[in-house]
């Protein structure tokens, strides 16, 4: 054995600071992902940092890594979806999980089975993670109270769609680096939009300025309490912003006459080339999809150079891989089962 050497104080100090850095929390503070409301900035940043690495994996010839090997993920989709369901399924498969997807049209839900019975029966087949989309707000939260699986909310009614909020934030973060002080305007049906709510919660947490813009019938009373500015005129709303997030007009969620006509909506709140030109050449245009072309956005804007709509879709896959990865790791998932 070599002789023992005394270690200088300065070196000790640097080792201490390094150890703190090394132990930086590499886990989320919650066991489930239900929404971005009250999610700490550190958790959002951890998901973004992890998503960067998963985006690299997507560019490789072998687009698959093994961390979720042996785990089973159930996708419970009580509402129609293409993008989110395919994105979750691919994310799960690229993490080597076993995947079961469930759509209500071909299941016992048609025979009147309750959500609780459905999940208890599925869980009895030894599954680990449930991804749920449901038309009722709070459905994901309800699941956490009646089953032991890790629950990921893939959209619950008009409440939240956290992975969409995270992928929008990740897309902006890739472009701007930091969201501190950036201004994002969310245009359209704010009242029925879970995407808007998740975006607002996440962006405000990260220090971005958020505006919402739409007809008064589609802006909920008291939305200012979430820390946003309300605009009723699109041209004013997009002045001086860094990004415009255009929402889909969700006619399946609207009851009664909230819009006189789609033509009037398009005239007043549709994003077209001349409005975008007035906003500036560096303004980023986003849309969570599916687009009603020619209603909330003209095709030339949707396919134009300022649109990041397709990179949002790619980023969605990376973000969902990051969320699954971060929620599934660690011994609590084994111990609590």
């Amino acid at each position: 054995m070599p002789k023992s050497t005394p270690i200088a104080k300065a070196e000790k100090k640097s080792a201490g600071s390094r150890r703190r850095k090394k132990r930086q929390a590499a886990r989320l503070s919650s066991r489930h992902l239900l929404g971005l409301e009250n999610m700490p900035a550190a958790d959002i940043e951890l998901i973004i940092r992890t998503a960067v690495s998963f985006k690299d994996v997507l560019d490789r010839p072998i687009k698959k890594v093994p961390p979720l090997r042996g785990m089973t993920v159930v996708n419970l989709f009580y509402e129609p979806s293409t993008r989110t369901r395919i994105s979750f399924e691919l994310a799960e498969k690229r993490l080597s999980a076993d995947v079961v997807s469930f759509t209500t049209s071909t299941s016992s839900v048609q025979k009147g089975e309750t959500l609780r019975d459905t999940i208890n029966n599925i869980e009895a087949m030894k599954t680990d993670v449930v991804v749920i989309r449901h038309r009722y707000p709070g459905a994901a939260h309800y699941l956490t109270r009646c089953c032991n699986s890790i629950v990921i909310n893939a959209g619950d009614g008009a409440h939240e769609h956290p992975t969409q909020g995270l992928l929008d934030i990740f897309t902006l973060w890739e472009i701007f680096g930091s969201l501190e002080g950036k201004t994002v305007v969310i245009v359209g049906d704010i009242a029925h939009s879970r995407v808007a709510r998740s975006n607002i919660f996440g962006l405000v947490t990260l220090g971005a300025k958020v505006r919402v813009c739409g007809p008064p019938t589609l802006i909920p009373v008291g939305i200012e309490d979430l820390g946003v500015e309300v605009y009723y005129n699109l041209d004013n709303a997009i002045k001086g912003v860094d990004a415009i997030n255009v929402l889909r007009i969700q006619r399946e969620r609207q009851s009664g006459a909230v819009l006189p006509s789609l033509r009037e909506y398009t005239k007043l709140f549709g994003l077209n080339r001349s409005r975008l030109a007035a906003a500036g050449p560096d303004v980023v245009v986003m849309h969570p999809g599916p687009i009603n072309r020619g209603v909330e956005m003209t095709p030339e804007v949707a396919d134009g150079p300022q649109s990041v709509i397709l990179s949002q879709v790619t980023n969605g896959l990376a973000v969902r891989m990051a969320v699954l990865y971060l929620l599934c790791g660690g011994e609590t998932t084994v111990a609590e089962r």
């Binding site: 270690i7 080792a15 930086q24 590499a26 009250n38 690495s53 093994p66 042996g70 609590t332």
Partner: protein, 198 residues
């Protein structure tokens, strides 16, 4: 419990070991043809840079250097309490058909190297993979051995080998620590974000 620390390599010892490893790599492979150097993050990365610099000094060729993050390939993902922070793999060249010199700081159970082998093979099919480590401390749990070793250090499993490199820690040294207290564990709340009173 008191903590005992012992320095087993200083900056000069680290430099000499890396220089010797550089020579051994060239000798074993008959030159630098088709060699690439890949360091395992975090501390294998600067070591890979330094070995490449040694080889450049001797042979006057610049070898491609990449950095590998093995987090996704760990076998303790579902049991380890603290997940390591995911870092980026930065390998901007094709490893197919190349002889890869895999570099890490400490060789211990061999599980990191097993993960790294899986990660590398997902990137392409190298002609061969050779392993270079600064310290081999024994206690292997898998049939893995190093091709190039800076220093063999007999240790007890309770001891910790702490490699410090100037690129990350502002100093070059290898230290053995004994009697380190175990860290406390914190479990995540079942649901930290929503506090509903139902």
């Amino acid at each position: 419990m008191s903590v005992l620390r012992q320095k087993i390599m200083d900056a000069a010892a680290v430099r000499r070991a890396l220089t010797r490893i550089g020579h051994e790599i060239l000798e074993r492979n008959g030159g630098a043809k088709d060699l690439v150097i890949i360091g395992i993050k975090s501390r294998g990365a600067p070591l890979a840079d330094r070995i490449a610099a040694v080889i450049e000094d001797i042979e006057k060729v610049k070898l491609p250097v990449g950095y590998l993050d093995i987090t996704f390939y760990r076998d303790d993902f579902q049991t380890a309490f603290d997940q390591p922070v995911v870092q980026r793999t930065e390998i901007l060249f094709d490893i197919a058909g190349k002889t890869v010199i895999l570099v890490d700081d400490v060789l211990y159970t061999g599980r990191t190297i097993r993960s790294a082998l899986d990660a590398l093979i997902d990137l392409g099919r190298p002609h061969a993979i050779q392993l270079a480590v600064l310290v081999d401390r024994g206690h292997r749990e898998l049939p893995i051995r190093a091709d190039f070793v800076g220093k063999n250090v007999p240790t007890a499993p309770t001891e910790q080998v702490d490699v410090r490199l100037r690129e990350i820690d502002n100093a070059d040294s290898v230290i053995i620590e004994r009697g380190k207290p175990r860290k406390k564990r914190k479990t995540p709340k079942d649901n930290a974000y929503i506090d509903l009173d139902l």
